[in-house]
Point group: C2
Chain length 341, copies 2
């Protein structure tokens, strides 16, 4: 099933939910969003439907098996059925989590998302990858479950903390390397709504072509293998980690032009920060290697697929052995420690 | 992907696993099966593969979120990847559970099953429905995840307890109503291997046509809506509960011929027991109605789809309101209390 991505005004979100073809709504809302926007999301306006409301704890914390169990048991206990529809309103953590609930409750019910963070509007809410976290790493327990609707409302960005805006921009930066149209919008400093729509539709196109990520969809992982490791090691926001993951892969396997493009785009998109998280510290090769080997994207015991970019809009997947990666990190560790953008 | 269903000798199971196209095997084996057959399943014979072994606790008990979490964290911690392959050896509970692990670990890896109970050979291991249980009912948390291989070895029936054999026969009885060929084999008292293959291939055909159960696959639920309620209320083995679920749906919405066919087939298949679980007790209408309304097969708040059989090989789905079901149970409760096969 294809996802309908549409822009919607804040005051019309409840109307859209009311029009869904079901008599039962499972509504999962981020608790911060609820504290800011409850007055704009008047559930009582939804007529002739049973609405079961579950307020989600803060951010990434919700993506664990206990909350998964709590939410599922709560909805089942309230009485739902296969034609019920789940609606997630929140950032990427909430849609990852709620989407996994939708994927597994009664073996899967339909769902829709209202992404409220920049990261989620351009990336997390699109494409049906849903998951919770494991002790061994992020997003290691999950499913592919395409949402029916993604309703984008940029008004939510008004209350998004600066650090999360910057994090979202890290993913925007990634798209700029994958698609020349998005690169062009960024360099021209187009309005953010225009950039969001371009990113969301680009990702949707790729995921429609390759839902289960056996081919072209893999290029969306640019910066992510190292990014996930950095996110874990330095406790960074996801998009920021992806940006430094891209920097790292470009430094060790890419070109000078890759790095110059990052600097130009970073300036155009107003992304702060020039020093990598490992700047002037010991470069954490062992931790990175341990984490890489648990990455869910590895497809053999001895190697991993990394995304490389020849030029803007020209990315491809290259298989690298762990030995090769370890060697090049060892060789470059002193230079990496001193490097800044 | 289509499942390859094949008969395999006990001594060749390990060879089949060894031939799988992967370097990493997640092996989930029922602990009872392991205690009987460890000498026939010599894991060390699998060459050039990493084998991660997880022994599963007894029967239905494993189908809970805690064991799900334990197994997933265990496999992830040992280090696996997307091309790893899970093999489940055990009864229906083990394949339901292990299949759900395979469906969700790293967003889904391929898997194969060696069903060791009659119930699993004819039903549970076929068709890719995988699940664990919720506090609100059985199999309410799950996925559709087709196995790559089902390797049937009837030798395992040699150590299957009689009560489980009878339970498996309850599902065989169900197939007899759905397919004239299987009915004919049962009435002629064909060898059990032949009946197993006919049931497994019949189910595979239906699930290939309708994987997500939006149409024809629904007829496989004959006896199951009431059966799941009876299984829960009286703590019955699954197949036995399905048999009494069929008896109940035939008694209140079916024909005299349905009941006569059940009796003839029950005799031909040597299924013991003439008294329903509610015999001479108060008929548990409230409990049944409460349970039915939580059944994952309901698709609206006020009704449920029940499978009815006009004649052998001619089944169809009929929507019944809960009110209608409650009324007919109330009207017939005194007769039901006294009824025996």
């Amino acid at each position: 099933m294809k996802t309908a991505i549409r822009n919607v005004e804040l005051e019309n979100i409840i109307d859209e939910i009311g029009k869904l073809d079901t008599d039962t709504i499972l509504l999962v809302v981020d608790h911060q969003i609820w504290s800011h926007y409850a007055k704009d999301l008047v559930i009582e306006k939804i007529e002739n439907k049973k609405v079961i409301f579950w307020k989600s704890p803060d951010g990434e914390k919700v993506k664990n098996i206990n909350d998964f169990q709590n939410a599922i048991e709560f909805f089942l206990e309230k009485g739902i059925h296969r034609n019920a529809h789940l609606v997630a309103i929140g950032g990427g953590a909430v849609s990852d989590f709620a989407g996994f609930v939708a994927a597994t409750i009664l073996r899967g019910i339909s769902w829709s998302v209202v992404p409220t963070s920049l990261l989620s509007m351009v990336d997390a809410s699109i494409g049906g990858k849903v998951a919770i976290n494991s002790k061994s790493g992020k997003n290691l327990i999950g499913a592919y479950h395409m949402p029916q609707n993604v309703w984008i409302c940029s008004k939510f960005l008004g209350t998004l903390p600066e650090v999360e805006k910057a994090s979202g921009m890290g993913e925007v930066l990634k798209y700029c390397f994958l698609d020349y149209g998005i690169y062009d919008l960024a360099i021209k400093k187009a309005p953010i709504e225009q950039i969001i729509n371009a990113c969301a539709n680009y990702k949707q196109k790729l995921t429609d072509e390759d839902f289960k990520e056996t081919g072209i969809r893999k290029i969306l992982n640019l910066g992510h293998s190292f990014g996930h490791a950095l996110e874990f090691i330095y406790n960074l926001p996801h998009g920021e980690a992806v940006m430094w993951g891209m920097v790292l892969v470009f430094k060790i396997f890419g070109s000078e032009k890759n790095i110059n493009d990052i600097i130009a785009l970073k300036n155009a998109l107003n992304i702060p920060g020039k020093n990598p998280p490992w700047f002037n510290k010991e470069f954490p090769i062992d931790k990175i290697m341990t984490y890489l080997q648990k990455d869910k994207k590895i497809s053999a015991l001895s190697s991993i697929d990394l995304v490389m970019v020849n030029d803007i809009g020209n990315a491809q997947v290259e298989r690298k052995t762990f030995e090769e990666i370890q060697n090049v990190l060892e060789t470059n560790k002193d230079e990496l420690r001193k490097f800044t953008l």
